[in-house]
């Protein structure tokens, strides 16, 4: 049997990948959209559904950024509601480790796991910025250099809380008058750099024991964190060679944490555009790119690099000849773009601007066309057969263990993939035709959670 592919579906996000101007684009808020999307993914036997998190609306130039889809419901809340209208698919959500407390987060995820019969997953992210902190009790309290420490302690603490009840603690024996075996199940006492908490965790052990842990992050610290404690890692490496390098690097780190090769699944994010022929697919992809990067969005992207107002620049003209403003660090409060992690991906803005200018001059492209070339690339473009072949090749050659698919239309953008690509993967024998297990851990081929401990005490 070939290596099995794992697939996740990312509900279209609040960025320009999501095309809201398409006639097929529906509500990003109403529950019916989430239900449609989740049921499509489940019909296609995906491993899990993924919802990102929102904590503050993005801003640019001191104003709320108004060009992208924006606004979203609370993601864990939606996942819990989706548990009522799905049966098998995993339910994964991002929960920030900075603007939440471990007891509350652990309780919510344990509840989600109970009320979905073992389908919960947590994408642990970390942030520190004052901008997001303005919506929360403690404000921008966390120094940047403590963000991974906070995330690690948050995760370790949540896992200790999940492990604080034995699996057979609740007996509910009416005749014997015994509901629990011990009078103080869930007892914990945790003292660390970020936390000083004690008492009893209120939720009995959930079906998965520990919900599935996901991590995203490409830095050295991020890779180590994932190798030490994640069950799956989201990456941006959706090109074959880069994917293989990343895959080998991260998998090689597992052994030193006493983990097996298959204990961590590597899942790059991927977009796709299909067509009946290769040329039709290419034309479809071109149209989607122009929808994703309208004239105003092209200017907005350029402003994120140039870090200044470019409203008088013509998006259909050349890339600006002047250099970006480099006096403000992207992490400082002074940068033009706020609440957008991807801005950091630009790296050195002057180098990026030079690169854009050279590309424009070399190929005679306008600013908008350059932005499309740089930011609007789709991972998979082709016939369903071509896309299925490519996905399978990635997995069979260890460039990934599967993909997190990001459709560009809500809520029906996944339908065509489910209908046309999944059956071809199933024909190859590399993707399930039925769910074999009931929990997300089983779908992902992960080991059961470690056995429990009766009393938890963590020292810094």
């Amino acid at each position: 049997m070939p290596k099995q592919i794992h697939l996740a579906a990312h509900f279209p996000g609040v960025n320009n990948t999501t095309v809201w101007s398409d006639p097929a684009s529906g509500s990003h808020i109403e529950f019916a959209s989430f239900r449609h999307f989740a049921q499509t993914a489940e019909r296609a036997k995906f491993d899990f559904l993924f919802l990102a998190e929102g904590l503050r609306l993005r801003e640019q130039g001191g104003q709320i950024y108004d060009l992208d889809v924006m606004g979203r419901p609370d993601n864990v809340a939606i996942l819990q509601a989706l548990a009522a209208v799905t049966e098998r698919i995993g339910l994964a959500g991002t929960v920030n480790s900075t603007f939440n407390e471990p007891l509350d987060v652990a309780r919510k995820l344990a509840t989600l796991d109970h009320l979905s019969a073992g389908r919960a997953a947590w994408n642990v992210v970390t942030s520190w910025d004052e901008f997001t902190g303005e919506n929360f009790r403690r404000g921008g309290y966390l120094p940047k250099d403590k963000r991974y420490l906070r995330a690690q302690e948050m995760l370790a603490t949540a896992q200790a809380l999940w492990d604080s009840w034995d699996a057979d603690e609740v007996v509910a024996d009416a005749a014997a008058g015994r509901f629990v075996r011990h009078g103080d199940a869930g007892r914990f006492d945790i003292r660390s750099d970020q936390f000083a908490i004690s008492g009893r965790f209120p939720v009995p052990r959930s079906p998965q024991g520990r919900p599935v842990i996901i991590q995203a992050g490409d830095s050295e610290e991020g890779r180590e964190f994932a190798a030490s404690s994640a069950d799956a890692i989201f990456t941006r490496h959706a090109e074959l060679e880069a994917g293989q390098q990343f895959y080998a690097d991260v998998k090689a780190r597992l052994a030193k944490f006493g983990r097996r090769h298959e204990d961590l699944k590597i899942l790059p994010a991927a977009t796709f555009v299909l067509g009946d022929t290769e040329s039709e697919a290419a034309e479809n992809a071109r149209q989607v790119q122009y929808q994703q990067v309208g004239p105003a969005t092209a200017i907005a992207f350029a402003e994120q690099v140039w870090n200044r107002d470019l409203s008088d620049v013509d998006p259909d003209g050349p890339v600006p000849s002047f250099d970006p403003k480099t006096s403000d660090d992207v992490d400082s409060g002074a940068h033009i773009s706020k609440g957008r992690a991807s801005v950091r991906m630009f790296g050195d803005p002057v180098a990026v601007a030079n690169e854009w200018r050279e590309l424009g001059e070399r190929e005679g492209l306008s600013l908008r066309e350059v932005v499309i070339r740089k930011n609007g690339r789709h991972t998979f473009v082709g016939t369903p057969q071509r896309v299925a072949d490519t996905i399978d090749e990635f997995v069979q050659t260890d460039a990934s263990d599967g993909f997190v698919l990001v459709p560009h239309v809500t809520p029906g953008g996944l339908d065509v993939f489910a209908d046309q690509v999944v059956p071809l993967l199933q024909e190859k024998g590399s993707f399930r035709t039925e769910y074999e297990g009931t929990t997300l851990r089983e779908h992902l081929g992960l080991q059961p959670s470690p056995t429990t401990v009766a009393a938890v005490s963590v020292e810094a």
């Binding site: 108004d66 509601a81 919510k108 869930g186």
Partner: protein
């Protein structure tokens, strides 16, 4: 005018021995089916709403009592898609939660249920609950300060719900703008315990303002309700931490006095009386049930039934009599706490409700689709909208 009827769900019921009763399904307490079936039973009885109790701490170390509970908001969200008319009102502990998170979670419940969300805001002064969070000292804060914080918590939730005007999403292809940012509003709340900038991440929910509720036994809590709630649960003939709470007339007078004192504008509070019910075919049988339950609990050294709300042992007719008298005294209705959910909830839906209907005191079909609608509350205008 008809009265409003709610049921307060807490585990297998409000009696500590309830989990040992036939049909209690205590072994399913942490599964979805347990909660779905209870709320569907309440909906079959045309009830206005169910509340879901919550606490971060475990109440007891007794092995013969239920221990552990699930997050009440998530229970409501799990039940939402498989019910259609009944209001869902989870408890939220203001003292230990982020108002921003709670606001978006309740707004999400409102989207999932297309307008049936409410929230019961609760204050925590329990030292064991503080220790679970480790951020503040339980005895460092006065009761007044905690209630003020809860009032701020409600204010932030409400401002965030209004922070997107209803028509903020414009999808204007000509200019490339998805929203009209003039219709998104910073709430800029500054309080003693927190400040919140806004706007919400979630657009204005279907009801505009989901229903805010509180349970109150004393002036400071009546004041909180008068400042921020739509609905208040009170305990006529009950006993609060400060002693007897008084009868329905006396409590109602206190509530109205607090409304006047805080200058409440708009709709007056709907006041519902809490009643813990032990029901059976006759009064003697009901008393015998309670005696037996207390004895079961006492055999292991348990305290038996203790309640801040009045305990009624009797028939559905007896409950109807109390509700009718409360109604005469000016209460809008009642929230019933079933001693044994498996036994007393069906008695409420299948005996009490028909009895109230015979008396012309309760609806014979749902007339509204939203929780606000059940209470005759209009969808409010957005506080930030320019007229």
């Amino acid at each position: 005018m008809t009265l409003h009827l709610a049921v307060a769900l807490d585990g297998t019921g409000w009696h500590p021995a309830s989990w040992r009763e036939p049909g209690a399904r205590a072994d399913e307490l942490f599964t979805a089916g347990f909660w779905v079936d209870q709320v569907r039973e309440a909906e079959a009885g045309l009830l206005d709403l169910v509340t879901l109790e919550d606490s971060f701490a475990i109440d007891t170390d007794r092995v013969d009592h239920v221990q552990g509970r699930l997050d009440a908001q998530l229970v409501a969200l799990r039940v939402g898609p498989v019910t259609s008319r009944i209001g869902l009102v989870p408890t939220v502990i203001a003292t230990h939660t982020e108002p921003f998170h709670v606001s978006t979670e309740i707004a999400t419940l409102d989207y999932v249920t297309t307008g049936r969300a409410g929230v019961r805001v609760k204050v925590s002064s329990r030292a064991d609950e503080y220790a679970l969070f480790g951020r503040r000292e339980a005895d460092a804060e006065s009761r007044e300060s905690l209630f003020d914080e809860a009032a701020d918590h409600i204010e932030v939730q409400r401002r965030l719900w209004d922070s997107w005007e209803d028509d903020a999403e414009i999808r204007d292809a000509a200019t490339g703008r998805f929203v009209d940012r003039e219709k998104l509003h910073y709430i800029d709340f500054e309080g003693a315990h927190f400040s919140v900038r806004g706007p919400s991440i979630t657009p204005r929910p279907p009801q505009g303002q989901p229903l805010v509720t509180a349970l109150a036994h004393v002036d400071v809590a009546y004041r909180l309700a008068a400042r921020g709630a739509d609905l208040v649960f009170v305990t006529p003939g009950g006993v609060g931490r400060d002693g007897p709470t008084g009868d329905a007339e006396a409590i109602l007078a206190q509530v109205r006095a607090e409304e006047a004192a805080v200058g409440r504008a708009g709709d007056p509070l709907h006041v519902l009386g809490d009643l813990l019910v032990v029901l059976d075919d006759g009064a003697d049988a009901a008393r015998e049930r309670l005696r037996r339950l207390d004895e079961t609990d006492g055999a292991g050294g348990g305290p038996g039934l203790r309640s801040d709300a009045r305990i009624l042992t009797g028939t559905a007719t007896d409950v109807a009599d109390v509700l009718e008298s409360w109604h005469g005294a000016g209460l809008a209705g009642a929230r019933l706490r079933p001693a044994v959910t498996a036994h007393d909830l069906p008695r409420i839906t299948r005996e009490l409700v028909p009895e109230l209907q015979r008396r012309g005191l309760f609806r014979t079909a749902y007339e509204a689709d939203t929780l606000r609608g059940h209470f005759g509350l209009a969808r409010p205008a957005d506080r930030y909208a320019r007229v």
